[in-house]
């Protein structure tokens, strides 16, 4: 419970809008206690900026308990900052030392245009899910839940993949800004379950086509995504996605249509 006060220098990416070139701005964060969360530290800086008539640093956040996936920034070159398996909102200032310089940048990817400062547009992820990341079940037409047993091990694996919070850290961390981990997690979650079999092949083809259409890069197996993922989503799902896609593309009767951004 020991508490210390920190004085920090922040180099923050400021960008007025999607078309602005952007620049770094330096701010001082004074008397920050080590018990503060990283975002509370930014709250303090922002409240002071507002009182001084300046524009506060825009950043995305919502639940502040590491589950909604809204927050995210690159802190000293690492997506979500230095603590493993931790979203930006769950990062605390005790991870830093007095006098530290901290560089804050947005997720940088053509698929995630910057809206303002550290806020990016992640609707590309929504469009990847819209392309096929679901099981088509009409409301009210489901059969009895226990009719179809699912082996515990398979259900657990599906849950592992389904833990993805859609924050985009995988894209931010990947040297190629690839969205493979995100896409693979959903393809794997649904392809593992018996309920997801009917659309399995179509789903893989459409979701990958959308992922490509959004302008994300390809996977070159660096493993940066897995290391940055606050939920520890595994690279093995990318291997599974590759399998799913090859099988679907090779066995399909006709090629599928490409998709638009």
């Amino acid at each position: 419970m020991s508490e210390e006060l920190l004085n920090l220098t922040l180099h923050v990416w400021r960008q007025d809008g999607p078309d602005d070139a952007g620049r770094f701005e330096t701010h001082q964060a004074k008397d920050i206690t080590t018990h503060m969360s990283f975002l509370e530290m930014l709250d303090v800086v922002n409240e002071l900026l507002i009182e001084n008539g300046k524009s506060p640093i825009a950043f995305d956040h919502d639940c502040r308990e590491g589950i909604c996936g809204t927050c995210g920034m690159v802190i000293n070159g690492v997506a979500h900052g230095p603590q493993k398996l931790t979203t930006t909102c769950q990062l605390h200032m005790r991870q830093f030392k007095n006098g530290d310089e901290i560089w804050l940048e947005p997720w940088r990817a053509s698929g995630f245009p910057v809206l303002k400062d550290l806020v990016v547009d992640r609707t590309a992820f929504d469009r990847i899910i819209q392309a096929g990341g679901y099981i088509s079940i009409r409301t009210g037409s489901a059969s009895e839940a226990n009719e179809l047993p699912v082996a515990k091990e398979i259900a657990d694996q599906a849950m592992d993949a389904a833990e993805c919070i859609g924050c985009g850290a995988c894209v931010a961390a990947c040297p190629n800004a690839s969205a493979s981990l995100f896409t693979a997690a959903k393809i794997s979650h649904l392809s593992l379950l018996p309920q997801g079999q009917a659309e399995r092949q179509d789903r893989a083809r459409k979701m990958v086509a959308q992922m490509d259409a959004e302008g994300f890069g390809g996977c070159t197996n660096h493993g940066e995504c897995e290391a940055a993922c606050p939920k520890g989503v595994s690279l093995r799902w990318i291997a599974r996605m590759n399998r799913e896609l090859v099988r679907a593309m090779v066995t399909a009767d006709a090629p599928i249509e490409s998709r638009k951004r």
Binding site: T220, N221, S234, N242
Partner: protein
């Protein structure tokens, strides 16, 4: 009317193409290295081995065409992915800290072109414009007695080692083979094969320079 997508038009398809062509190239590299071990059996063995290969014209040209095709696919896919991946980042990070990637993976875009240049040089040196046509043993030994040439070969083989290490390891992932229970074997296999080829290939110029293999 939107265009229809085939497997190779997806980023995953391109990686699959790279992995499959890579497997062919690694296979050739292993065979090439094993054949070159004839160097240690002396001039007669080496030249005889070369002559046998030359006499099997359909096999020789079949292999050459397959390799050419594999190179073509490997390089074309790599370039296409490289262009795409560079564009995907957009603006660069001011600060960037790597967490998981390794030297071999990071340098694939360097080791690749280096290997291509080396292959061209290697073909010119020993196959297309040899100093003494038909005398493979002599060409090799005379060539490696020049420290500069030996140095080029050694450097290129170190690059080859890194390239194969990441390529071999990564091909499993690309082709869908990733299982927590077997992943450590996958890594061990990649280390073993890349180390064997690199150390083996390095031994040739070193043996010549050290005077262990002479004319």
């Amino acid at each position: 009317m939107q265009r229809a997508l085939t497997l190779h038009q997806t980023t995953i398809g391109k990686k699959v193409a790279m992995a499959l062509s890579g497997v062919i190239l690694v296979g050739f590299t292993v065979g090439h290295f094993l054949g070159n071990l004839n160097l240690y059996l002396g001039q007669e063995a080496m030249d005889g081995y070369a002559e046998t290969l030359q006499s099997l014209t359909p096999v020789l040209w079949g292999t050459r065409l397959l390799l050419l095709f594999a190179f073509g696919v490997h390089i074309a896919s790599a370039i296409s992915l490289w262009v795409r991946n560079t564009q995907a980042r957009g603006s660069r990070y001011k600060k960037r800290t790597d967490l998981a990637t390794d030297y071999a993976a990071r340098t694939m875009y360097w080791s690749g072109p280096i290997l291509l240049l080396f292959v061209v040089y290697h073909l010119l040196h020993f196959t297309i414009l040899p100093d003494h046509p038909g005398e493979v043993y002599r060409n090799v030994v005379e060539g490696f007695q020049n420290p500069l040439i030996a140095g080029v070969y050694m450097a290129a083989n170190v690059a080859l080692g890194f390239h194969i290490f990441h390529g071999f390891y990564s091909a499993f992932q690309t082709l869908g083979a990733n299982h927590p229970r077997y992943n450590s074997y996958r890594r061990d296999a990649a280390i073993a094969i890349s180390a064997a080829i690199t150390i083996g290939n390095l031994s040739f110029p070193i043996s010549v320079l050290a005077g262990l293999v002479t004319l």
